[in-house]
Symmetry: C2
Subunit: 223 residues, 2 copies
DNA sequence: GTCTATATGGGGATAGAC
DNA sequence: GTCTATCCCCATATAGAC
């Protein structure tokens, strides 16, 4: 208290340590999963001793949940349909670009979510309702596009999930991509190429091929 | 030796135990990953004691590698482009159906592979060359389709990887699908619906939209 | 805040009785 | 083949000196 009148230096040092811990924990949890990760390895990656780590965190489980929340928050913030756009091409392109960029930039954070889902998703119990709610908004817009004949009739919810799956792939299976396609880490050109291929696949995939001259069409999907 | 002249009963009992162990290990490894899984839990799931388990297996690592090989073998056998078919629609539909069916029927086995990739894929070192070889065959056929104008120009390798990603999704994220879409476990109707949606998305996604009346087209993808 | 030392529990694996 | 008991190591977490 007394030796920290500015309230700056100590706090900054503490937060830098916490950042190191977070980065280390993200790497460790995303690789080994919650059960496979060890506080020992996290401490080592963060450049501190194990006892020191436990001085900064409440426990392994609390640290894990904190990071899980972080992914969910970022996704909730960034990965949305842009409401200022209206045409399917623009909305979907933007969405794909955002989600893919996150997969490229923060693959480990993305993988924590995947690892948790693989483990049964017990730590996501509170998250599913919110996620489903989130998808409903997108679903409604897509339904509108179908009614307006802007895209072909399809199962809107599955369509969203498929886009999510395709973009998530580049985080979860980065190792596979690297081996089967070649390295593309910081290469902007390769990233743009992938974004383009995914976007085209999706946009073509929902296009109406031979739209009957001008008549309303119904959605055939009944799921 | 002497009390087993038929060579049957004992062997059968042994193999039944081994099957139980395999099933238990698949469940455990797919949930927790290699590091997170414990022989304790595997034994418990198999209905035997831990010491008993170690009588049947060479070690945790050997058991894990055995199961990994199992997935790779099944994929190598089942998930191929059918050479008796030739049209893109038929080949891709069949491929998607096979891969999706495996995701539905053996999700845990599929997830072991995913978990291993998430962990860095160190146990797959020998597998990548074979997998890449496998993809090259498909790639050549797709290139042919492009030259023949049967599908639009696209990056063939990424296209294959995207189909793989979409079908793998239903194994890895089964929990997510269940929460956001509803249960679809043994429901044949729902399975067929999903197969249909994925197939249509892919087939439309690679269709040529406004093919110029009749002229060869070049492949623009240079990756 | 940071260290060494340690408490306590669980991990993989084996010995040896039955 | 199956059990109990055990070895030895590593896990999470804390105590307490500095």
């Amino acid at each position: 208290m007394m030796n920290n009148e500015t309230g700056g230096k100590v706090r900054v040092a503490r937060e830098r340590t916490l950042e190191n811990i977070h980065a280390a924990a993200i790497a460790e949890f995303s690789e080994k999963g919650f059960q496979g990760a060890t506080t020992q390895a996290i401490a080592q990656r963060a450049g501190i001793k194990k006892a020191q780590l436990h001085y900064y965190i409440a426990g392994k489980e609390e640290l894990y949940e904190e990071l899980l929340q972080k992914v969910l928050k970022v996704w909730g913030d960034i990965i949305q349909f842009d409401p200022t756009l209206s045409e399917p091409e623009a909305v979907l392109s933007r969405y794909i670009r955002n989600k893919l960029s996150f997969s490229f930039d923060q693959p480990e954070l993305s993988r924590i979510f995947t690892s948790e889902v693989l483990s049964g998703g017990h730590y996501l119990q509170k998250y599913w309702p919110q996620a489903t709610q989130n998808i409903v908004g997108k679903e409604n817009l897509i339904h509108q596009w179908i009614v307006e004949g802007k895209i072909r009739p399809l199962d809107a919810r599955l369509f969203i999930m498929h886009i999510w799956a395709l973009t998530q792939y580049y985080a979860d299976f980065a190792v596979q991509v690297k081996h089967m396609y070649g390295n593309f880490g910081g290469d902007t050109q390769a990233r743009e190429h992938i974004i383009g291929e995914v976007t085209t696949l999706i946009l073509n995939g929902c296009k109406d091929f031979a739209p009957p001259p001008s008549q309303g069409r119904e959605q055939t999907s009944d799921f």
